[in-house]
């Protein structure tokens, strides 16, 4: 049971990570295509606030505050009783509402597969593709040092 709970939490967190970095327009398009419900009882927000970003001295030492970032969050309750949360950088309130609904639907075993297939998987694929492209572009700027042999022997 412990293992299953941990796996479930990891899956939910991964889905929330994908929703957090998704573009608002892309999410809205997928949502409309999937015909998912847009109505939910708003328990909180959507509201925009600040999160103070922390770094570590020297990269791995004691924490310090770097600056703030805008974050928008929302909490919804579905007619099924499932409560969903969303948090994401930026100020996109429409996206925050949909992401909270997605999180609520994800927790409903009857809807999880649908959310994973119709929303999470395409967003993740899009993100992976962009990430791989960026990585390949960066890799092309890697310096390959070589040594020139000069003079005799």
């Amino acid at each position: 049971m412990r293992g299953q709970e941990a796996r479930e939490q990891a899956g939910r967190k991964a889905a929330m990570a994908t929703l957090a970095r998704a573009g608002g327009d892309e999410m809205l398009r997928l949502w409309a295509d999937a015909g998912l419900p847009e109505d939910a009882e708003m328990l909180r927000g959507p509201e925009t606030g600040l999160v103070t970003v922390r770094g570590r001295i020297g990269g791995g030492g004691a924490p310090f505050n770097v600056g703030e970032a805008t974050v928008t969050r929302a909490t919804v309750r579905l007619p099924s009783g499932h409560v969903g949360h969303s948090y994401a950088l930026g100020r996109d309130k429409r996206k925050a509402r949909l992401a909270a609904i997605a999180d609520a639907l994800w927790q409903d075993p009857a809807r999880r597969e649908e959310i994973e297939a119709r929303i999470i998987a395409p967003l993740r694929a899009e993100h992976e593709k962009a990430h791989e492209q960026r990585r390949a572009e960066t890799a092309a700027t890697k310096v390959d040092f070589f040594t020139m042999v000069r003079g005799e022997d």
């Binding site: 939490q9 939910r12 967190k13 929330m16 990570a17 957090a20 970095r21 509201e47 925009t48 606030g49 600040l50 999160v51 103070t52 970003v53 922390r54 770094g55 570590r56 001295i57 020297g58 990269g59 791995g60 030492g61 004691a62 924490p63 310090f64 505050n65 770097v66 600056g67 703030e68 970032a69 805008t70 974050v71 969050r73 909490t75 949360h85 948090y87 994401a88 950088l89 930026g90 100020r91 990430h131 492209q133 960026r134 990585r135 390949a136 572009e137 960066t138 890799a139 092309a140 700027t141 890697k142 310096v143 040092f145």
Partner: protein, 370 residues
């Protein structure tokens, strides 16, 4: 007697209307869109985020255009905006070792794990203006190279093995990270608070101070151990979830400066370090921050404090360009009454001076005798 002077209301309203017009400029030229600023003036946007101390590209772009490209004014606008928002909390510290790196260079190691990645750098360009860009020529797609993803440990972790470099900066176990947005500055201050002030400090000011250390005012022989730019994941602990909630990623620049150090009464000979971490792509700022961080550790390392860059109160009190511009620019505002008082005083002093001068040499001799 105090007399309030009213007036200027219409002049102010019209001045702001004129400002809006001049900001927009020639109406036959298309207006800038925020996405154009975000995409094409990205490093200006990054500077506004870093010194405005608020990570939000669209807001920074709006500030840039509203300020007509005056970045300090834009930074001021962003700082003012952030005071209107509630605070959700403090993120977990970002892990720069797990950064999705877009640029990473080291001046101390040629062959380091993960390699040297130049990324989108101005280095090695010839700094020649490009007429083709002015003509709006198409830009080629970047080259790509398929390769396996490699881990890219921070350079400091590599050097640490030999014990010849000091570890990442630790604070006492019970230390809580300070926050200059919550508590007033107090001197002397802990290194974590200094770093927060430096990270939002003015790039030009920190650059000049960093430069001064290189020129001999608090010389500390710096090497760029590493500069890396890329995206790091942000997570926040919230009570409603049993795990840290992912917020997405932000781009940051990190600089590990490695400094020669002959040792002192307090510390053995070893490499010491300065650290820089700023929002966005800004290696000049991150490097200047790292130089200043190291210089400001003079007392901690038992060095003599002899130069401006080592003077904590001087550096931290003057690094904030919003405070600086506020105090300098307020001199423009009406000081009519202040000045009237000064004018009266100078008139009185002048009358006394003239009276003494007219009294002749007899008085002068007497004064000398006194």
């Amino acid at each position: 007697m105090y007399v309030a002077v009213k007036g200027g209301e219409a002049a102010i309203a019209n001045a702001h209307r004129l400002l809006a017009d001049r900001r927009r400029g020639d109406r036959s030229v298309p207006a800038l869109r925020l996405d154009q600023i975000v995409e094409q003036l990205a490093l200006g946007v990054d500077r506004v985020m870093s010194e405005g101390s608020l990570y939000d590209r669209e807001l920074a772009a709006l500030a840039v255009v509203q300020a007509r490209g005056d970045l300090i004014e834009a930074i001021f606008l962003v700082r003012a905006y952030r005071t209107t928002l509630p605070r959700f909390g403090y993120s977990n510290p970002v892990d720069t070792g797990a950064m999705r790196v877009e640029r990473r260079v080291s001046a101390t190691y040629k062959d380091l794990p993960g390699g040297q990645l130049l990324g989108p750098t101005f280095d090695y360009t010839h700094r020649l203006l490009d007429p083709e860009l002015a003509a709006g020529a198409d830009v080629a797609e970047p080259a790509r190279r398929e390769s396996e993803a490699e881990p890219m440990p921070r350079v400091s972790a590599i050097l640490a093995h030999e014990g010849l470099i000091e570890p990442d900066g630790d604070m006492p176990r019970d230390h809580v990270a300070g926050d200059i947005t919550r508590e007033p500055l107090e001197f002397p201050m802990a290194r974590d608070i200094r770093l927060q002030a430096l990270s939002r400090g003015d790039e030009g000011f920190l650059l000049a101070l960093g430069y001064s250390t290189q020129r001999g005012y608090a010389r500390n022989h710096p090497f760029v151990g590493e500069v890396r730019i890329g995206e790091v994941e942000l997570e926040l602990d919230v009570p409603e979830l049993p795990f840290a909630v992912p917020l997405g990623s932000i781009r940051v620049t990190e600089c590990q400066m490695v400094n020669q150090f002959k040792g002192s009464a307090k510390a053995p000979p070893q490499f010491t370090r300065g650290y820089g971490l700023v929002f966005g792509q800004s290696e000049r700022k991150a490097m200047a921050m790292a130089l200043c961080d190291r210089a400001l550790r003079a007392s901690e390392l038992g060095e003599d404090v002899v130069a401006a860059a080592q003077d904590e109160e001087f550096v931290i009190s003057h690094a904030d360009n919003v405070q600086a511009t506020g105090f300098v620019e307020h001199l423009k505002l009406p000081h009519y009454v202040d000045f009237q008082a000064e004018l009266d005083l100078v008139r009185r002093m002048r009358a006394e001076y003239d009276a003494r001068a007219n009294a002749g040499p007899v008085d002068e001799k007497r004064e000398a005798a006194e």
